[in-house]
């Protein structure tokens, strides 16, 4: 195995386009890649360590929202006043993300590229309608996050492409993130969800909910939110509607049945106590 450590974006994109794709892996934070490498599940001939690319670092406030460099670490997001103020659901997901040793290395683009259904930043990023700026030697394109993630560990990333940055539009209303793990710290989500709403004169005017670890990708609970916005208040109906948009599985952390039940109960409780649980 050979490790390449480019300092310039151009050099990195050249490497990505020239090295044989099947034997080349991008190394960002490495927190997911290293265990898989040690177990022999990923054995690249060529490893491109992109950590030195200054162009992919940092959080910028833009006219329409924010742009986050792909290499921005989870800990940097957690310490960002901008993220805390404007994207509280994303901020809350970083607060509950592993321990500091992982957060100091793990990157936002890495969490996206891994495309785990339980990736903690993904429910908030879907909720905020994040887009990705993807760069290759020949082209730059911007796509919606939900068009990038295709399934567990699968993306529509093309040969030679690198996630340059994550673009977040300006958000209205209140939002928050909830994660249920098997313990409070260092836990992978059994279920998680992110929720955003607006109210006017005590009436709900806007509501969106995304849920993680209950389907092959993050899902929008559109059946539920449409009904709630139309005045449906029966929580039994709510739970049935949540069921329409999710497809949980049994795994080492929980059964499909438990996931369905617990997500229904948590979201019902949340919607009945919006102002308290998801405060301004």
């Amino acid at each position: 195995m050979k490790i390449y450590q480019p300092y310039g974006l151009g050099d990195c994109l050249d490497l990505l386009s020239e090295l044989p794709q099947a034997e080349t892996v991008i190394l960002a934070g490495g927190t997911d890649l290293m265990p898989r490498y040690e177990q022999g599940k990923v054995l690249p001939e060529h490893l491109i360590n992109i950590k030195h690319l200054a162009d992919l670092q940092g959080i910028t406030e833009t006219e329409n929202g924010a742009e986050i460099g792909g290499l921005t670490t989870i800990e940097t997001l957690r310490r960002s006043g901008l993220i805390h103020r404007d994207y509280p659901a994303l901020w809350q997901s970083t607060e509950q993300f592993a321990g500091v040793q992982i957060r100091n290395r793990a990157t936002l683009a890495g969490n996206i590229a891994n495309a785990s259904p339980a990736g903690d930043t993904l429910s908030p990023l879907y909720l905020y309608h994040a887009k990705l700026k993807l760069m290759s030697r020949h082209a730059t394109r911007t796509i919606r996050l939900e068009d990038f993630i295709a399934g567990p560990g699968e993306t529509t990333q093309e040969r030679g492409e690198l996630i340059h940055s994550i673009i977040l539009p300006r958000v209205t209303g209140s939002s928050c993130f909830y994660k249920l793990g098997l313990r409070e710290a260092m836990a992978i989500s059994v279920v998680n969800y992110a929720l955003r709403y607006s109210q006017s004169a005590g009436e709900l005017t806007d509501l969106e909910i995304t849920a993680g670890a209950v389907a092959p990708t993050i899902v929008f609970l559109d059946a539920l939110t449409t009904a709630v916005l139309s005045g449906e208040t029966n929580s039994t109906v709510w739970r049935a509607l949540i069921g329409q948009d999710i497809a949980p599985i049994d795994d080492i952390r929980a059964s499909a049945d438990y996931r369905r039940k617990v997500l229904g109960r948590l979201i019902t409780h949340h919607l009945q106590n919006l102002g308290v649980v998801c405060h301004e």
């Binding site: 490790i3 190394l27 490495g30 290293m34 040690e38 001939e45 360590n49 040793q101 290395r105």
Partner: protein
């Protein structure tokens, strides 16, 4: 030590505990193995080997990281602090001394990692409450102490600083 037959070599330059080191290493060598096997700095421990337990925590460029999840080559040009480099000319540093004074150490295996996490944490949060301390140590697992005395030690270090 997997896949050694495919390995290429890398000329690593890194500062460890204040000392500049230049050493040819295999590209696949983990930072933890470089510290323990090559440099014989055995303070950082391997327990889980997958970033769950924090026993291999060191400071890389001032930040607490799991040295089991990093290739040594990634530390090229960087600065590393291990538990061996923490004590000053006058003896143990204050976090180390507090862990002893507050009986926060039992078997001791997790302690080098704990102390380095605390080192970084107190730089960002000089006056933390107990809940913040617990949150900061979420990545360091201890199976002896029950954490109570560890939290006492961190709280007392902060008070004395």
């Amino acid at each position: 030590m997997l896949h050694a037959e495919k390995t290429e070599w890398f000329e690593l330059e890194v500062t460890v505990n204040g000392q500049k080191i230049k050493q040819a290493i295999p590209m696949h060598l983990r930072l933890l193995d470089f510290l323990r096997e090559t440099l014989r700095l055995t303070g950082a421990k391997e327990v889980c080997g997958e970033g769950e337990c924090g026993a291999c925590t060191i400071l890389l460029n001032g930040k607490a990281v799991n040295s089991c999840l990093i290739f040594a080559a990634e530390s090229h040009g960087g600065t590393i602090l291990t538990i061996e480099g923490l004590q000053t000319a006058s003896g143990l540093n204050d976090v180390q001394q507090s862990f002893i004074d507050d009986h926060a150490v039992q078997c001791g295996y997790c302690i080098p990692g704990m102390i380095l996490s605390v080192e970084e944490f107190l730089k960002h949060s000089p006056h933390p409450d107990r809940e913040k301390i617990r949150h900061a140590l979420a990545g360091n697992i201890c199976r002896c102490t029950g954490y109570q005395k560890v939290v006492d030690a961190v709280e007392n270090t902060a008070k004395k600083r």
